[in-house]
Amino acid sequence: MRLGIVRGHVVLNSAVAAFRSKTLVVLEPVTMENLSAANGLGGGKALVAIDELGAAKGQMVAFTEGREAANPFWPDAVPVDAYCSLIIDSINIHS
């Protein structure tokens, strides 16, 4: 999983049936530099993920990418490749 900051939500007008009533968030992945500095910045390339946890704008999440992102909808076939798995409370960096 990578870390991402929720920057917004996506609303779809028409979508494939599997996406109905799913929440989509825009995530900005976080680099180690920004995470260490705790400056609230991301630094990575934005992507859209499905969120079932209710992450709010500005919160940090850990998101799964790839085939495993669709596992929560098993056995349904849902064309998802990013899924919010954790809402981060804190990260303790030991260096």
């Binding site: 530099e33 630094g43 850990a62 098993w74 981060i88």
Partner: protein, 96 residues
């Protein structure tokens, strides 16, 4: 699979129900020249890897699905704790 260095621990109260009770670590992927990737990753650890140690991470979710059920989004899992990496031709090498 790839090598990563454990750089911290992650606390998350709100999570996918299948991930309840898992230990999450912050890790940095190690490149062949010994440098680390710009973006850190969050991995699941069942082996008890310590901070600062080098681990082998698998990006296949099969082991997670076996343990946590078919609906788990877990993917990156620590599958080994590295003792040593032998790379004689590498200028810097990876320190375990």
């Amino acid at each position: 699979m790839f090598l990563a260095r454990i750089s911290g621990t992650v606390v998350a109260a709100t999570k996918h129900p299948t991930l309840e009770g898992c230990r999450f670590l912050l890790a940095e992927r190690i490149e062949s020249d010994g440098s680390t990737a710009p973006e850190p990753i969050v991995i699941i650890d069942w082996l008890g890897a310590a901070s600062g140690s080098t681990v082998l991470v698998s990006t296949d979710g099969d082991i997670a699905r076996t343990r946590l059920g078919n609906t788990t989004p877990a993917r990156m899992v620590v599958v080994g704790i590295v003792d040593a990496v032998q790379m004689p031709e590498s200028a810097h090498g990876v320190k375990a």
